[in-house]
């Protein structure tokens, strides 16, 4: 059952610490960031960091790194590639899930830049959510080639250019979890609904011309919750930083389910 309010221990204290901009800063912008310290056990809070944008890179990730390096080394967040290919720095920026490394501070319309961890996830520390279940759901769709026939002895399993192009899109998913954690249906039913990212992965293998387990894969989705908790809200497609469309993939999965009934 959907719980619309946060549990008591998760409620956010809006008045955390404020870190003032240094003397002589010319272009100050406030970053209001969700903080949770697992060692203190205190409720999460919002800390405010005044950053001199004149001495900071353009992206939200640049600002986070500047804060960690120069203002507050206790701030925790994930990051790696800084070019939108690893999916580590997924977070909720200005109310929308996206990658901090590809989101320019100037794109944030609000005067303050508000940063929260990915929504409705257990928080390990600050902006670092626990993605264990998200990865387990990905693993549950068996994201690998499954065949029954014997592989050709002297070559790879080949497919036509057209068949390859079908999976180019969904293969570009970086598993950042922006889509799944933007989905209200996933918020309320993440224990049983697979969510857009895992379903996009399932779709990617179902439409792969080389895969020989399409029936079993569809069988595994034949469930009131795993697939059918998608109500085509479309938050996933709006949130995806790679401009993929999980909603469309899920729609096609539902069609395949219907078509094989007769």
């Amino acid at each position: 059952m959907a719980e619309f309010l946060l549990p008591l221990g998760s409620r956010v204290n809006k008045n955390g610490k404020t870190h003032k901009a240094p003397e002589g800063a010319t272009k100050v912008r406030k970053f209001r960031i969700y903080r949770f310290d697992p060692d203190s056990g205190a409720n999460p809070r919002i800390d405010t960091y005044e950053v001199d944008m004149a001495a900071c890179g353009p992206m939200v990730l640049d600002a986070l790194i500047k804060i960690k390096n120069e203002i507050d080394p206790t701030l925790a967040f994930r990051r790696s590639c800084r070019e939108g290919i690893c999916g580590s720095c997924a977070m909720n920026i200005d109310g929308v899930n996206t990658l901090a490394c590809t989101k320019a501070c100037e794109e944030v319309a609000s005067s303050d830049v508000k940063i929260y961890p990915l929504p409705h996830m257990p928080v390990i520390k600050d902006l670092v959510p626990d993605l264990t279940q998200f990865y387990a759901q990905y693993a549950a769709v068996k994201p690998w080639l499954s065949t029954r026939s014997t592989a050709p002895p002297d070559s790879e399993r080949l497919q036509s250019k057209e068949d390859q192009e079908k999976i180019d899109g969904p293969s570009a998913c970086i598993l950042c979890a922006c889509c799944s954690t933007s989905c209200p249906s996933y918020w309320w039913n993440s224990d049983r609904y697979l969510g857009p990212a895992a379903l996009l992965a399932a779709y990617r293998w179902i439409i792969d011309s080389r895969d020989e387990s399409t029936g079993e894969r569809l069988d595994a989705l034949e469930d009131p919750f795993r697939l059918y908790r998608c109500h085509t809200i479309m938050n996933c497609a709006e949130a995806c930083p790679k401009d993929l469309n999980p909603a469309k993939a899920i729609g096609e999965l539902k069609q395949m389910m219907a078509e094989r009934q007769h």
Binding site: S10, Y34, P38, P119, H120, K248
Partner: protein, 130 residues
């Protein structure tokens, strides 16, 4: 180590057209289902004869219930149009972001315009209309 808190969701996610239309579809669906009771009462009043029907229309003619009926009409028009939008999705059309935005605008515009016209026809006093 403290238990892991749940990160904020509804309270921080920007309320976009996607979620607004989806939750409105569900709310109007519930309202329409509840409104069926009134519809059944109306049918029973018709079956009950002239006196029963007069009593029913007298009750439903009260100001507050007229407002409820007007809301029910708007709920029906929205749910009807958005239901067709869902049928298109079920048939595999209209999943691109631009298409979904356009169909959302069409659904809302239809509900507002058709609702406005019908409410005008239903509620405008005879004298003003002619």
């Amino acid at each position: 180590m403290a238990a892991r808190p749940l990160s904020p969701h509804l309270s921080v996610y920007r309320f976009a057209y996607t979620m607004a239309l989806s939750i409105l579809h569900r709310i109007t669906g519930v309202a329409l289902a509840a409104g069926l009771i009134v519809l059944v009462c109306w049918l029973m009043a018709i079956a009950g004869g002239e006196a029963a029907y007069a009593r029913f229309t007298a009750v439903m003619g009260q100001g507050l219930l007229q407002v409820v009926l007007a809301g029910w009409l708007l709920a029906f028009l929205y749910h009807f149009a958005n239901g067709i939008r869902h049928l298109f999705w079920d048939a595999g059309y209209g999943f691109e972001k631009a298409q979904a935005r356009r169909s959302a605008a069409i659904v809302v515009a239809f509900a507002v315009v058709a609702g406005g016209v019908l409410l005008y026809l239903f509620f405008c006093p005879e004298g003003v209309r002619s």
